[in-house]
Symmetry: C2
Subunit: 611 residues, 2 copies
Amino acid sequence: MASSAIETDGQEILDLEKNRQAEMSQWVLNAPEPPSLWRELMDSARETVLPRGKRFPYLKDKDGLSKTVISVLQAMFPIFSWCRHYNATKLRNDLLAGLTLASLCIPQSIGYATLAKLDPQYGLYTSVIPPLIYAVMGTSRDIAIGPVAVVSLLMSSMVPKLEDPEANPIAYRNLVLTTTFFAGIFQAAFGLFRLGFLVDFLSHAAIVGFVSGAAIVIGLQQMKGLLGIAHFTNKTDVISVMQAIWRSVHQYWNPHNFILGCSFLSFIKLTRFVGKRNRKLFWLPATAPLISVVLSTLLVYLTRADKHGEATAVGRSFASIKGYHINGNQEMVAFGFMNILGSFTSCYVATGSFSRSAVNFSAGCETAMSNIVMAITVIISLELFTRLLYFTPIAVLSAIILSALPGLVDPHEAYYIWKVDKLDFLVCIGAFFGVLFASVEIGLLAAVIISFVKIIIFSIRPGTEELGRLPGTDIFCDVNQYPMAVKNSKALIIRVKSGLLCFANANFVKEKIMKWATEEEENDSQGKRTVQVVILDMSNLMNIDMSGIASLLELQNNLASGGMELAITNPKWQVIHKLRLANFVTKMGGRVFLTVGEAVDACLGAKMAAV
Amino acid sequence: MASSAIETDGQEILDLEKNRQAEMSQWVLNAPEPPSLWRELMDSARETVLPRGKRFPYLKDKDGLSKTVISVLQAMFPIFSWCRHYNATKLRNDLLAGLTLASLCIPQSIGYATLAKLDPQYGLYTSVIPPLIYAVMGTSRDIAIGPVAVVSLLMSSMVPKLEDPEANPIAYRNLVLTTTFFAGIFQAAFGLFRLGFLVDFLSHAAIVGFVSGAAIVIGLQQMKGLLGIAHFTNKTDVISVMQAIWRSVHQYWNPHNFILGCSFLSFIKLTRFVGKRNRKLFWLPATAPLISVVLSTLLVYLTRADKHGEATAVGRSFASIKGYHINGNQEMVAFGFMNILGSFTSCYVATGSFSRSAVNFSAGCETAMSNIVMAITVIISLELFTRLLYFTPIAVLSAIILSALPGLVDPHEAYYIWKVDKLDFLVCIGAFFGVLFASVEIGLLAAVIISFVKIIIFSIRPGTEELGRLPGTDIFCDVNQYPMAVKNSKALIIRVKSGLLCFANANFVKEKIMKWATEEEENDSQGKRTVQVVILDMSNLMNIDMSGIASLLELQNNLASGGMELAITNPKWQVIHKLRLANFVTKMGGRVFLTVGEAVDACLGAKMAAV
């Protein structure tokens, strides 16, 4: 009696369990239809292009036109938001920060303009108009706007291919201004159409490699100024530059220049060391370049040293492209407008400078007003000192640039990338050597191409992994990642190590599974192992294409002819939808399950019952 | 007493549960190190290049040299395996199949040679030597070897760019033979180095589109023969061909030709219809082209119609590239050798013909002997009838080619692709219109480029999905795919819909999750919902790069500053390895779990205890 009751109970539980399994399989099979391709495209376009969050809440507002206009203006020109709460304390802080910034900015701007093969005043112009526009339109309060080194290097390596800066300086300058105009147009368009994400396509590793390479190239080019070489190469790759230096050193170089440059280089390095030891003296390294310029200019002016050696114009340390991180699309709009308007006022491409932004921050800036203060200071110095720039020795400007380069070459970061991700390191090295031995464009191109090839290789690698049950659970995991997982002796449970089963890997995966399933003498711990069921865990697969479906069908047929069953588990939305459309589910006898555990129970249970 | 015992029990169970969770977290965190990049490269190279399964078991054999040699010969030349069991019955079947095959093959070979702008006899040569070599080296018994239409079209669209077939037919022919030689070299090399998988890179959808487009192009070109047009364009795109037809029709065309061609086209179509209705009459459609050629040739020969109109050489229906499926690398070696040797004996590129293979199969072939029979029949007819080919009217050959084209344009398959996979349909359409309106190469290029762009887009699409618990289970699924899944009111459970978290999508994913987590007024069924924990299910992610890790770190910091916790679950081998190397696990407080359920319990449990 009791035993029969237990049996009935057992039977009921079994039935319940079966119903439960059937219900869950139905959940998988009867999923609602996923959004159509068109719908998905529209959604992702909307998400990409339209503002995140509520950017125009005032449009719902019915309080009248004036309020709407104010809201639009506040969104477009953040200055209206912060200037209402502006006060004397903030002004004092901004004034201090702006003056510190200007003292670093003036020599840097002159240096970068020379790097871009422009006259020094164009660097100063670029430190006036763009910061003023950014102060009105930008959202960040710390960022310091002006010319930066990598952009200057890009200009000097690209534009001279179209127009020779020495033969025809005015045409060259006009071409640089046109480039600036179009750079602004693209930035504004990217910002307005919310395409800022395109900037992400240059990966972190690529930027590390590119900036390190560019720093070395720039450093080598400074040898021209430091050694006082008159004729130098226009190419940017290391080999050409080294050859040019080698040739010049054997022919003619200027020891006065070299000694002057090295002295000021030591002076700047020393102030930086002092500034690092004592945080309160942050202004010392920030003003050291200006002090160097003023001192050396006075020296040359008073001693008329320009009669003996070289003189005139340009250089200084240099801000990393790392700072070039666009904070949202409004930033990009601001950058775009400042470059468009800048190009009409003789400015070349301006952007956020990493090193100057850090100084701005340490100097305690409160709002974008510090940029305005800096711009005004630069205007005044433009008025007063432009003629004196004639006497600034190039060696000092080279020393200023050289002093900042070690911070850009980042072997620690490169080692970290090597440690964590070997392929990312390849991207980094590709960009580095591309810039170093070929050209700036080839370095960038190499980085982008390696990055995308990496994505393709990862996506279509035809890897598979065998799953086993974690002891004491119903969880199935990769037996290599979890060595404690126990393989099933009758079911081969396989997961594809790729997010896509497509034309490029489907055939390979199919053959691999077939080989696995038909290998007869697998030396398992229990001795021989006969595979009755192949369970394909699809939880990884985001999508599948026609070739993938065809391969699955072939796999199913091949397995069936070998007396084995194929079951699939946990297909994702798009995958189950396509498998249903292609009638694969019916063709394989409906063996679709939500979890691997269920599939094992159902398939092996059915086999047992059949025996 | 009892209640305290229960409490103790409850406490014990809770402790056990906690220990269990801790143990499982340790399993995740202490996974063994995954194979290094170098090791993986080596493994995948070995798997790709080295033979699957045991291809040379005899190398372990110690039975002496003779046995080894025999085994090697059997692996290289499968004919040694099957010819030992060959008998009279098999010979009778092969003889019948071979003769049927020859009757279809002769007019086809002549037609394809004309399509390739070669003299008709080269098509016949190609039906002699390659089948003989394949019979010795190939592994398939059904496949019929010889010239096929798509390859002929490729020849006629590529080679004339280098050498004009009309101005300099001998140089053109030599160039075609050189092309054949190098095609053979590449095939043999791919086969020997086990690179057959490269063939997969042309996806099914691309082939459907390409073949359909090529069929239409070939069909239009047959208008030249059907209308008896003397001067025709060399271009293959639809617009040029249509223009050439239009121009010719207004100037000069031959109605006799047209009537002759249309009559035989109707005759072939009729026999095909009869053959389909009555399966026993399969030989009727197979021999109809030969009957047409013989009848029309006799007609022209007896009436001397060639004095009035056009005559001489070449055509017939046409076998699909669908048949061009390489069954393993030994097949590729066989194809390579037959083309290399073929090129020395005036054959152009031969491959497996789909339509003829089907005829071979229906005719009941037993072994590759049917190919030998066919080759011998072709040799005999070459000896006897080559001179008569002069009288074969081109219109009939065009009719033969035209009669086979509708089978290649596959709107059903295209509709099926459209139904199942919209993006694959784009690949198909790209190949189709590329061939139709540009050129054969551009069609192929378009298909390959669209296919790879598709892979990139799928791999880096920055989609995310929210997970909910399936009622009555501990399984968490996409709430859109499984509408019955219940969202957690305090934990936001998110899964990335991509196999890679990399530079191209990491920033976007991070922003999307942040937006999701901070959206305050989510209208859940329980009214307002406050997110305390964000659980990121990583089970999809095969890999992560430096930018992905940086984004996760930023996400963790942003969430922390908003008072939320980040937990990750089920990271795959490479992912957890890199996260550990980058110290991310420590930085996020070790909230790494194996399953979402555990993460929910652990995080919300801890929050509760803290309250």
